[in-house]
Structures are given as structure tokens and as C-alpha cells.
């Protein structure tokens, strides 16, 4: 098919899912005539009509709650939250209903909805447009949390999310929307729950997901110059988590850095670090380190580069992996 952007791949996934299953309906703010502010729903209204793709009143709790009701009627709603922070008004509906309805009813009701959330930064957006909110969802049992880093995954994971019997929070890294790759669509990649080694390496493992995967790959490339051969694992789905792939990699390499854009405290990266040290303790030559966003509100465009994990910061962390088997002096001093 040639060169495809992630935005186009997501659009194709929606289009194909709607063609294959007429229970699939797409709605949200500006998803109809406009095709979404990122054009992910472009052309769906024209192709499938108002019944299948429509604009709603401007109210996120309403959108998610409406999707719950529509799912109860047998449909398969895919809703768009316009930006990460604008999903917060829907938090109660997501945490108290979407995540729990199957459990509350012992499986009598399911909520096969997909909540698409364009997230994270790196696009020079003003405040409230760049939050990395995956940690909130990953901490909420009953939700699956998925985030593609590649064009084929964008297509395949979104198709799987729509077909999944459970609610999926589908986190789309905004800064990758217009990154393109050679890809032939439709494509089926590894299923939910499987991480993928994007680059094999022997010396240390970089665990990343979504917008941090390209950073990890770039860092691994740069690390070659420093004599480090780094493995990069792309999680793809945060929930369910692929312990097997991550653990196998770290046991092999003996060192691990976890990368995420979100503020670090009590986020997904903390979970990964906690799991890895728990499961790979005797293989580790150094503590599992984390490179994450700072523990501050997302900064204004002019300073976002200071906040975001970049190649240098990743390499700094790699350098601290006690290659000489000496403890990190920072923590000894404390």
C-alpha cells in the first residue's frame, strides 16, 4: 500500500470495522462533518451516514454514558475524547460504570466500547491538551489499556479493540499521528497482551510504549556509539501486561530502563519497575531505572522539551546502570 500515516491507519481501521460489522457506531465531538480535529474519523459520515457516525452534544460524561447505554442495546460504540485532559469529565462514567458493569452483573451485561484518547505531548499544544493519562486507566480494573507505537499496530490494535468483548481505552500518541511508515493495510499484528521486541540487544532492556517507543529506538541507536547494545521492548498493551516478554528480556540483559512520557510518580512505569525487580531480581545487575516526565503539570510549549524523556535522558539512565558494578553514588549519598 506504500506510505501510510498512523492517522490514516486509524481511519482505515474504523472504516473497515464499520464495513464488517454494522453494530459499530462512531461518535463524539466533531467526528462527523469535520472528521475529527485530527481527521481520524474523516469520511466516515459520508461513507456510513448519520446513523453510524455522528456528532454529539459537547459533554464527555454524556458521550461515555451514552455509549454504555448504546452498548446495552447491542451496538458497539467507538467514542472519541477530543484530547486527553478532556476525558476527565467522563472519569466517573469510566471508573464506576464502563470498568465495572460486567463485574457488577456477573457477565450479564458487557460494555464492548472503545474510548479513543489522543494523548501525550510533543506537539506544542497549550495546557490541558498534552496530558499522559494512561496511568489513571491502567490503575482501574476492568479496563483494557492499549497504545500503538507503529502504523501497523495502530490499525491492528484498533480493529482488535473494536472486536474485543471488553471496554478498551485506546490511547493514541498524538505526536505519532503524522509519522508514516511503509505498511499494507489491512494488517494483523500480535494480539492484545503481547509485547514485541522492536530491536534485539544484549546489554540492557528499554521498556517503552506509545510515544516513547521511537525515543527508545533512537536512544538504542545512539547507544551503539557508546558501546551499548540495547534491546527495545514495545509493550503495545499496558493492560493486559506481557510479563513474559519483558521478564525474558531483562533476564537475558540483566539491566532495564523503563520510559514513559507521563509524570513518574505512581504511574505505569512504576508498575513496570516494580514487576521487573520482583520477577528478575536475581538477574539484575543494577536497579531498574525509570525515565519519565517530571512530576509537574504539563508545561507550556516552550518548555515541553525539558519535561519529555529524550535520547539524552535515556542514555544518562543507561549510563547509570552500574556497568562497573558500582552502586549509584546518588543514592549512597542520601
Amino acid at each position: 500500500m506504500g506510505t501510510v500515516t498512523m492517522a490514516k491507519a486509524l481511519n482505515a481501521a474504523l472504516r473497515d470495522a464499520m464495513a464488517d460489522d454494522d453494530r459499530v457506531v462512531v461518535f463524539g465531538e466533531d467526528v462527523g462533518q469535520l472528521g475529527g480535529v485530527f481527521r481520524i474519523t474523516d469520511g466516515l459520515l459520508a461513507a456510513y451516514g448519520e446513523r453510524r457516525c455522528f456528532d454529539t452534544p459537547l459533554a464527555e460524561a454524556g458521550i461515555v454514558g451514552f455509549a454504555v447505554g448504546m452498548a446495552m442495546s447491542g451496538l458497539r460504540p467507538v467514542v472519541e475524547m477530543q484530547f486527553d485532559a478532556f476525558a476527565y469529565p467522563a472519569f466517573e462514567q469510566i471508573a464506576s460504570h464502563v470498568a465495572k458493569l460486567r463485574n457488577r452483573t456477573r457477565g450479564a451485561l458487557s460494555v464492548p466500547i472503545v474510548i479513543r484518547v489522543p494523548y501525550a505531548g510533543g506537539i506544542g499544544g497549550v495546557e490541558h491538551h498534552c496530558d499522559s493519562s494512561e496511568g489513571y486507566y491502567a490503575h482501574t480494573p476492568g479496563l483494557k489499556v492499549v497504545t500503538p507505537a507503529t502504523v501497523p499496530d495502530a490499525y491492528s490494535l484498533l480493529r482488535e479493540a473494536i472486536a474485543d468483548p471488553d471496554p478498551v481505552v485506546f490511547m493514541e500518541p498524538k505526536k505519532l499521528y503524522f509519522a508514516s511508515a511503509d505498511a499494507t493495510l489491512p494488517v494483523t499484528t500480535e494480539p492484545f497482551g503481547r509485547a514485541v521486541v522492536r530491536r534485539p540487544g544484549r546489554d540492557a532492556t528499554l521498556v517503552a510504549y506509545g510515544p516513547s517507543v521511537p525515543v527508545a529506538l533512537e536512544a538504542a541507536e545512539a547507544a551503539r556509539g557508546e558501546g551499548w547494545d540495547l534491546e527495545v521492548v514495545d509493550l503495545r498493551t499496558i493492560v493486559p501486561f506481557d510479563d513474559e516478554t519483558v521478564t525474558a528480556s531483562v533476564r537475558r540483559t540483566g539491566r532495564c530502563v523503563v520510559i514513559q512520557e507521563a509524570q513518574g510518580f505512581a504511574g505505569v512505569g512504576a508498575e513496570i519497575a516494580a514487576r521487573v525487580q520482583e520477577r528478575c531480581f536475581h538477574s539484575l545487575h543494577a536497579p531498574v531505572l525509570r525515565v519519565s516526565g517530571l512530576d509537574i503539570p504539563y508545561p507550556a510549549p516552550k518548555l515541553e522539551h525539558v519535561h519529555l524523556p529524550d535520547v539524552d535522558r535515556v542514555l544518562d539512565a543507561v549510563a547509570r546502570l552500574q556497568w562497573d558494578d558500582q552502586p549509584d553514588p546518588r543514592w549512597l549519598a542520601a
Binding site: 454504555v68 447505554g69 447491542g74 451496538l75 463485574n103 457488577r104 452483573t105 471488553d166
Partner: protein, 388 residues
């Protein structure tokens, strides 16, 4: 998709003054006083637009209210015996609880709150299944899909949005389902109420929003929820037809709800009903209502009993006599006795079922945790055996 600037379709102000067009809002406003078809003594009042429901329905309404109240009293008693963890009573609200569910069909969907146990029993759900939540066995004891009844909703007002989505989804699939969403006066202050009514209005979804205004949200009086002349006046702001009704007048409740359901089913969009009523009991058995309302108020409302009112009316019509009333009371007693017996048996709940319905299939993480719990339980059982 495009809009026309106002002046194009509107007469200029000067012309307007000459012949003002009818205010489109008028048709949406509720009656300025609650609709009442029986006065407090049980005598019939005629109100245009609200014909009296068929006598058979009224008799059935009476029967279900009597059983409903008996169920409610029994449930409160069960809390005292420790058989229920908690029970939010609907005593005093029988006209609303029963009238509303009688206005919808079995194929319609009901979205109840924690307060609607009586309504659900009246809809024919198994009372033991209804009380599963309050006994603490599981979150929902009945099959919502089979009974077309959502789980009783605790996060206030959230169910109104589900009702809008369900109703729209059903209509889109060519089914003439109406969704009946219960909500309390206090919960109308939540943002989700606003969004639920608005979504239903914009999509003309067939939903009846039924506000039981029992004048309190736990301890907080209505005056802290709204400064509006009545909650029914919220309808016009959404373009939704609305009505207010005396919620202790069973005939009026059934008549108004019947009209509302017909309006929705006919494709005219949602309908908002506010029923003025009163809960005779505390918020739940755990609440101490004496902290916030006085006995005189409760007593005054006791004098407006909905069951008495309907009984007087039906006796007047010759539909009920002493024997019929006694037979219904007997039926209610039998119902309560059966409930008592069945609630004495404590079902066991398999601890491992905790992992069964988090996802359609458990994640590897849950499989691991399940295995750990299984091992713990096995070890505990072994210890017990050794000890025993």
C-alpha cells in the same frame, strides 16, 4: 448542517410587536401546580389531558402498592435482623414506585436507583434477587439483560445517560423500546442529569425521566438543590416536554406516566416528570432522620397516604370491598412470609468467582492472582482440617 442567521427567519422586532409569534417554550412548560386526579380525601378531580386509567389498572395498581409496602416493611425488618446490610426504604413513595413501572411494558427498559427495590419487585423481579445487592452477596442479583432492568444505580444521576443511550440505540435498531429512568430530587443537581436529559433531547430518544422529589437528599432539603419554582421547569431548557404531578396520588402518577411513555414511544422525544412525594422512613435504616426533620412534618405527610387515597377511590367506585382488600393483604403477607423464609438461607459465594467477570477472559495478571488466592484458600482449608 448549516444554520441560518436569526434575522432571516425571524420577523423584525417591530413586526413582532404587532403580531408576536406564539412562544415555542409554552408547550414545554409543566402545569404550574402538580397534576392531581384524586384529592387528599380520595375524591376525583377532572384534569384536561389526563383521562382516568382503566379501572382494572387501578385495581392492579392498588394490589401492587399494598404488596410493595409490605415488601418494604419486611426489608426494613430484615436489616434489624442482620439479614440485610442496608435498606433504603420507599415507604410513602408507593404511588411513584408502582405507578411508574406499571406505565411501561416488559420489553421497555427500567433504570432504577438504590431506592427502587419496591419498583423492581412490582415489575415482577424476584425480591431475593433484588436484595442481593443489599444483602452484600454481589453487586446485582438479577439478570439485567433478561429483565430489561439496569442494575440499581448508586452513583447518582449516572443512569440517566445510560437510559438516553439505550433508548437511542434501541430506536436506531428499529425497536419501539422506551427507557424509564428513575432519579431523586437531589441527584438532579449532578452534571450527569443535565447531560442525560440533553442527549436524550438532542437525539429525540424515547426516555421518560421520572424525578421522585421526596424533598430530601439524605438530610439536605430541596431548597439546597434548586431555586427553581419546581424541578419540572428544567424541561424547557432542554426542549423537553415536562409535567409535575402529586406523587402521592396514584391515579395521577399512573395517568401522567402513561402520557409520558406514550409521548416518548410515539417518537416525540423524551419527557420529564417530577412527582412531589415524601419518604416516610429515614434515608436508609442507618440514617437518623430526626437530625434534620421534625415529627410534625412526617406526620403531616403520613396523612397523605397514597394507598389509603386509592383505596377510598376504588371503594367509592365499587371496585374494592372489605373482602377484596383483605384478600390483597393476605397476598402481601404471604409474599412477605416467603421472602423471610428465603432470606434466612444465606447463599455461599465462591471467592474465586471474584476473578470471573472482571474481563470476558481473565488477564495473565488475574490468572496469577486467582492462583494465589486458590492456594491461600486451600491452605486455610487444610489448616482447618488439621485443627478440626
Amino acid at each position: 448542517m448549516t444554520t441560518t442567521p436569526p434575522a432571516v427567519r425571524r420577523a423584525s422586532p417591530r413586526t413582532r410587536r404587532a403580531a408576536a409569534p406564539p412562544d415555542p417554550a409554552r408547550a414545554l412548560l409543566p402545569s404550574p401546580q402538580p397534576v392531581r386526579l384524586l384529592d387528599e380525601s380520595g375524591a376525583r378531580i377532572a384534569v384536561a389531558g389526563y383521562p382516568e386509567p382503566p379501572t382494572d389498572s387501578l385495581r392492579e395498581l392498588y394490589r401492587r402498592m399494598v404488596i410493595g409496602r409490605r415488601f418494604d416493611l419486611q426489608s426494613t425488618a430484615l436489616t434489624k435482623q442482620g439479614r440485610l446490610a442496608v435498606y433504603p426504604s420507599a415507604r410513602g413513595q408507593e404511588a411513584c414506585q408502582v405507578g411508574a413501572v406499571m406505565a411501561v411494558r416488559d420489553t421497555d427498559w427500567v433504570f432504577p436507583t438504590y431506592r427502587e427495590s419496591m419498583a423492581l419487585v412490582s415489575r415482577g423481579l424476584d425480591p431475593v434477587e433484588v436484595l442481593t445487592l443489599l444483602r452484600g452477596d454481589w453487586h446485582c442479583g438479577y439478570d439485567p439483560a433478561a429483565r430489561r432492568t439496569a442494575p440499581q444505580c448508586t452513583p447518582l444521576a449516572t443512569q440517566t445517560v445510560h437510559a438516553a443511550g439505550l433508548a437511542y440505540g434501541e430506536a436506531q435498531q428499529g425497536r419501539d423500546t422506551v427507557a424509564l429512568a428513575f432519579i431523586g430530587d437531589g441527584a438532579t443537581s449532578e452534571g450527569d442529569f443535565h447531560e442525560g436529559v440533553n442527549f436524550a433531547a438532542v437525539f429525540r430518544a424515547p426516555v421518560v425521566f421520572f424525578v421522585q422529589n421526596n424533598r430530601y437528599a439524605i438530610s439536605v432539603p430541596l431548597s439546597r438543590q434548586t431555586a427553581a419554582p419546581s424541578l419540572a421547569y428544567k424541561g424547557v431548557g432542554y426542549g423537553v416536554a415536562s409535567e409535575q404531578v402529586d406523587g402521592n396520588d396514584p391515579v395521577a402518577v399512573l395517568a401522567v406516566l402513561t402520557r409520558a411513555v406514550a409521548h416518548a414511544r410515539a417518537g416525540n422525544g423524551p419527557f420529564l416528570v417530577e412527582a412531589h412525594t415524601y419518604r416516610m422512613e429515614p434515608h436508609t435504616n442507618a440514617d437518623d432522620a430526626s437530625r434534620y426533620r421534625d415529627g410534625a412534618e412526617v406526620e403531616a405527610w403520613g396523612g397523605r397516604d397514597p394507598i389509603d387515597r386509592l383505596e377510598t377511590h376504588l371503594r367509592g367506585l365499587g371496585v374494592l370491598d372489605d373482602a377484596a382488600v383483605a384478600a390483597i393483604r393476605d397476598e402481601a403477607e404471604a409474599f412477605a412470609a416467603d421472602l423471610r423464609t428465603r432470606m434466612n438461607a444465606e447463599p455461599t459465594v465462591d471467592p474465586l468467582s471474584l476473578f470471573d467477570h472482571v474481563y470476558a477472559a481473565p488477564t495473565p495478571q488475574l490468572v496469577e492472582q486467582r492462583e494465589q488466592v486458590r492456594a491461600e484458600l486451600a491452605a486455610a482449608a487444610e489448616n482447618k482440617e488439621v485443627a478440626g
